[in-house]
Every structure is written in C-alpha cells, then in structure tokens.
Amino acid sequence: MRVAIFAENEKDLAELASAASIFAGREEMIEVSIAGEEKNISCCGRKVVYKLKGKQELNPEAISNVLRHVGEKYGISVFLLSTSKLCRAVASILSILTDTECITDAFDLSIEGKDVLASRGVFAGKATARLRCSIPCILTIKQGKYNPAEKVPCEVIYEDFTPPTKLNIVEVSEPQKASVDLKSARIIVSVGRGLKRKDDISMVEELAKALGAALGCSRPISSDLGWLPEEHHIGLTGVSVKPDLYIAIGISGQLQHLAGIKDSKIIAAINTDKSAPIFQACDYGVVGDMYKVVPELVKLLKSS
C-alpha cells in the first residue's frame, strides 16, 4: 500500500512518517513538497516536489488539488497530514475531491483487515472516540503522539502541475519568529483572564524566568485580547503540551483548555475562586490572588 504525507514543517513530517510505518515501508512512502526545490533527504523513500506560485502554499484548495494529483499519479491509498489549521482544511477538501473518508486528530492507529482504527479526543477532551474507517482514507495525525522518524537520502521527483483554484492569497504577515517552544518545555507558566492588563504579563514573565519556564496562555489572552501571540495559546484549538510542571495562573480550567495540558506530569494552579474547575484538575492549587501570590513565588525563588 502506498502512503503520501504532507505537513508544513519538518518535525510534523517526521512524526507523520513514523505514523505511516503501519501502512507501508519507507520505499512506499511519498513526501509531498510544495516548496519548489528540495534537498534529496527525507523520512520517505521518495519526495515529489511541486512549485506553487504566488503564495499558493497557504491555499488549502491548491494544496488539495496537488494531493489529488499525487494520489492519482502514484496510486496513493492513505494520505497522512498534520493537524495544523491549514492541513485540516486541506483534508476536508481532499476527502471530497477523492470521495474518501477522513479522520482528524488521529492517534493510536491500527489496521484491521481493510479498515484503519484510530482514536481521537472528543467532547473537549472529556472522552476518547475509537473510530473505524475503510482504506483508502485520509488521516490528520495529532501532534506529539509519534516519535519522529529519521531522515536519509531519497529520490526527488519534480512535477509540473498548476492546481486549479479560485482563491487569491493577497497578503501574508508573519509575526516575529516564535521565541517560545511550548512542546518541548520542561516547565510552563501559563496565564489566563485573571490577568487584568496586558502590561501585567511582565509579572508572570518574571516568574517564568525565575523557574526557567516557557510562557503559555489561555485562548482569550491570545485570540480575543491579542496580549500574546497565537503560538502561546494552549488547549484544544491551540498547542498540546506535556511539561513536567504546568502552572495555570488565573485560568478557570474549562475542558477546552484542559484538553491541551492533560499529559503534564504535575499541574499547579493559582486562582481566586475556590470553586474554579481547575482545582478539580490540578495536583497543587493555591486559592488566592495572582497579583499577590506570583510576586511572593518570585521572591522565594530568587532568595533560594
């Protein structure tokens, strides 16, 4: 069986190749690249390279048509994509273009006859669904669930194909490159709506610095208020993390936030409201005002 993998970054590609190994050996795996030019090194036996003009590398419609092209030309049975926003959109379009079934956020893959079985979190992470779907299929793989495969030299094939699309990418603004790597952080200090002003982030940053921690936040802090860049946003619709220590400060602990921090070894929380759900989901909780407790923690850490 042939598998094609597609993701926007190297790390995700390496995880996809690892997940793909239940379907096919390396020689039967194809990495799809839309970068135009590529080095002959990959986790897959072959790399098929397309050149998309005019920022079309961010156009889900164009990418789905590229993948359909790969599918037809190379006889692909399974497409594995990352779970980024772009890839989810690509998967949904591709599933119709190829009339195949699709599961997003999949992990724990196994094959049973002509079916693939996959798990995914549902009900904001309160439950796990085990789903069955027949091959051929499209899967987007949850990040951080597979150990990255190794890269070795591969064959590179250049394709000349211009995907049809009605969309026009007008502008792409890239925020400064991420200074935060939440996925591999050992300690994360995370802040929520308990924060009163944007400027007060410095207080939380000071604690993060004293602990050698990365700074995260709940969705409202980044998405609604724009007080921190999107890449700090943790949870169902943001990053999933698994640090040794996660400290939730002024975060109520809604299911959608908890969905992203479940795999943390220890969860600590600081919240004024004793009945906040975070206290049912943490190992150590302080009922108190972050504006008093956080400076106190910084003081203790600095003096020790």
């Binding site: 119709i96 009900f123 007008v170 502008e171 792409v172 925020p175 999107e230 220890i266 909780g285 302080v286």
Partner: protein, 252 residues
C-alpha cells in the same frame, strides 16, 4: 445577498455523563447550539445588515436540532431548515452530504457560513466538505470578513501567520469565535421566533448513503490528580506550593 449558515445542535460536553463501564451516554444527552456556531449566525446577520438579503439556517440532526434553529431564528435568521436524522451520531462525511443536498434545494446563495469546528467533536471537516461538494471556494478560520459586490476578502489566522485571502462570490467561509460577539436575543425576539417557519427534510429523502468513519466506542478519558489545595496568606501558600513542587522534583 442570500446567506446560508450551518449550525449544529451539539451534545453539551460539560453535561456529558458516562455509564459504569466508562462509555459516554449519548442517547438523551443534554445538547446546546455548538458554541462557535453563534458566531457564524452573528456574522451572517452582520453581513445582512450591511448588504440586505436573507439568512437561512441549516441544521442536520435529530429533534434536538429544532432548539438550535429556534435560537438562530431568535437571533434574527429569516428561515430555518431542519434535516432530520434518526440519531445524533453521523460521520462528518454523511452530515456534509446531507447539508449540501439540502442547501442545493434552496439555491442560489452568495455565501455559506460555518464555524471553525463544532464544540462536541471539533473535526473541522464539515465546512470544507460541504463547500467542495457545492463546488464553492472555501476559506477556513476567518477572523474578519469584508463583503463586496462580486467578491469577499477574508483575514485568517493560522498558527503563526495572518493571511488575507480574496475569493469571488459565491464562496464558503468558516469563522473563528474572535470574529464577533454574538447577540443575545430578547424575550420578544424569542417569542417572535416561535412563529417563524422551520422547513423539514427527512434524511432518507436526500438519497445519501451513510459513509465515513464508524464509531467503535466513546469512553471517558480520566486522569487522576492529587488536588492538594492551599489556602491562607500569600506568603504562606506560595511557600507551601514551592515546597510541594520541590518534593515532586519538578522545581529545583
């Protein structure tokens, strides 16, 4: 401008219960209008205010879906269409086929709106699937929509980038919750909505063969936490917390 907005009556995750074996109890589970779908309705209404026209809400689901459609009507949607399914559990592919067939019956539309993902299963599949079946360009994760006469300009946030995309109309768009603040209908509006029409279409009349993933089981995800709570003056609780974290070996 004719706008279709797709909304789902979702199982309320906060109220979801499990049986002794840990299986989710979905029959008669409490439901709510999928959280972000209110943003999709709001956006449809906002665009209608600017451009005039009509907003029609579509929902596929069992009887519970009537509740969500009534909410959309109370918010200000003009009409509603209920695609009646036997059970709540349908794969995204099946739901998408039902929705696109139903939307076809009410053509033409200039815009079809969705939310980024449903609050119960959040597959983010239905919007792109329906759009593609209807042959429309699809723009996901919109946080700002600017509608012109012949085209639409959308600002979209991906993980690290903000992208501005334009598309000719008709087009399909999924919105994120930050795009607007959904209105709360007044009591009067809720009462008026009760008189607005909800068309019914039975799923078996649409000729859709169920396809897509099948559910083997849905089980509780449980993680036990220690839940040690400290209360008292900040100097004291801060010290207790740090001591505990040091004992755990996660802080040096």
């Amino acid at each position: 401008m004719r706008i279709a907005v797709c909304i789902k009556q979702a199982v309320d995750e906060a109220e979801l219960k499990f049986d002794h074996a840990g299986n989710a109890i979905l029959s008669n589970a409490q439901t709510k209008l999928s959280t972000f779908d209110k943003n999709a309705v709001e956006e449809a209404l906002r665009i209608k205010t600017l451009k005039g026209g009509e907003v029609i809400a579509f929902s596929a689901g069992n009887n519970e879906s009537k509740k969500g459609l009534k909410e959309a009507l109370a918010m200000g949607a003009d009409r509603a269409v209920h695609i009646i399914t036997e059970t709540y559990e349908r794969s995204s592919l099946t739901v998408s086929k039902l929705l696109s067939k139903a939307i076809e019956k009410y053509k033409p539309f200039d815009l079809i709106l969705f939310s980024e993902g449903s609050s119960d299963i959040y597959t983010s599949l239905v919007p792109g699937q329906v759009s593609t079946m209807l042959g429309l360009p699809f723009i996901p994760f919109a946080r700002k929509i600017e509608v012109h006469d012949k085209d639409v300009k959308v600002s979209q946030t991906l993980e690290e980038k903000t992208v501005i995309i334009s598309s000719p109309l008709p087009a399909a768009i999924s919105v994120v919750s930050e795009i607007n603040q959904p209105r709360y209908p007044t009591l009067v509006q809720i009462m008026q909505a009760a008189r607005k029409q909800i068309d019914e279409i039975r799923e078996d009349s649409l000729g859709v063969e169920p396809k897509g993933y099948r559910v083997e089981y849905i089980r509780a995800q449980s993680v036990e936490r220690k839940k040690v709570i400290f209360e008292g003056p900040p100097e004291e609780t801060a010290r207790k917390l740090l001591d505990a974290l040091k004992r755990e070996g996660v802080v040096k």
